[in-house]
Amino acid sequence: MASGEALTTSGYIVHHLTNLTVGHGFWTFHLDSLIVSGLLGLFAFLGMAKLASRAAVVGPGKLQTFVEMLVSFIDQQVKDTYHGKSALITPMAVTIFVWVFLMNAMDLIPVDFIPFVLGFAGVHYFKVVPTTDPNLTFGMSLTVFAIMLVMGVKVKGVGGFLHEVFTVPFGAKLAPLNLLFRVIEDVAKPISLALRLFGNMYAGEMVFILIALLGLWQLPLALPWALFHILIITLQAFVFMMLTIVYMSMASESHG
């Protein structure tokens, strides 16, 4: 708990849900989200890159075996769902799963721990779970959306893509209606993707904060919720990854 805050319940909650920011208006940056997500990503992906650079064909180490198991599991998911040929899908799925999982896992750090430590350094606001920041979830889902559109155009060509947009599902006569349907369908994808992850993690974090408000009673409650949350952390990372793969496969196969 940072100093100088009124020790009210709502003050406590608001304090925990306020980002560390720089800038004004649109050009505001949530430093906490950017730093935590960036560090986690750099740690995970540079670590994996280093490991992959000296990956042993014969006699892989324990860590390599673990990473290979994870990566081949994700690759299997991709192969089951996505039937096109793209060197991007599996790496993207791996990125999503590992990164989202790690960011979600920040939820398991006791809610007061990092604000307490950073309080000594004069940093009063710090949201440690980047996936509770809609900027991150939308940043990811919009990137996925952009890749999805590019892939659709790349696989079907501009003509084929536009043809699909205007003729599916009701045929050429109802082109405006088709377009409307397509826009709604496609716009719903990044929004649902981003809001699902954000909502789950935000709600989970909120429950942690509320539990932390209970004083001594938080001890018997925080543990089961954390255990339960491990499931949500993994599941949400998996769902984000899986839906991305599904969207990519929908984009590269003919519609309807």
Binding site: T28, L34, S53, A55, E68, T95, P134, N135
Partner: protein, 156 residues
């Protein structure tokens, strides 16, 4: 829920991480796994091949053994036959040789007998002459009586 430029920053992070994974994580790992898969498959295939070859070699060795046994039996039979033949031949040769030796011994004996007889004749003749000399107390002209003496020798 305030959307701001953080979104752009996070999208950049996301892109960077996808790029790292696509360039440096996935390809080497996939290659290592594929290589390992191939290695294992090759090893299993080699094992299978080795087993098959072992089976073949076993069959071949059994064949070779059988052949060798047959050939050995053949050789033994031939050797026995040849041995018997050789013994037979030796017997024949020995018989011939023995006959030859016997014949030559007989001839020699006959010759010696003949020789002894001739010598004896000579001696008897000489003795007869000496006896006659003594009886007659006079010299006998050996040359003059040679004819008579040799006729005498023939009679003996």
């Amino acid at each position: 829920m305030n959307i701001n430029a953080t979104l752009i920053g996070e999208a950049i992070w996301f892109g960077v991480f996808i790029w790292i994974t696509m360039k440096y994580v996935w390809p080497p790992l996939a290659k290592a796994m594929a290589d390992r898969q191939k290695l294992i498959a090759d090893g299993l295939a080699a094992g299978e091949r080795g087993k098959h070859e072992l089976e073949l070699a076993g069959k071949r060795s059994a064949d070779a053994l059988r052949d060798a046994k047959a050939k050995a039996a053949e050789i033994i039979a031939a050797a026995e036959k040849r041995g018997a033949q050789m013994v037979e031949e030796a017997k024949v040769t020995a018989k011939i040789e023995a006959d030859k030796v016997v014949a030559s011994a007989k001839a020699e004996i006959a010759q010696q007998v003949e020789q002894a007889r001739a010598e004896l004749r000579g001696r008897v003749a000489d003795l007869a002459v000496a006896g006659a000399e003594r009886i007659l107390k006079r010299e006998v002209d050996a040359r003059a009586h040679a004819e008579m003496l040799s006729a005498l020798k023939q009679e003996l």
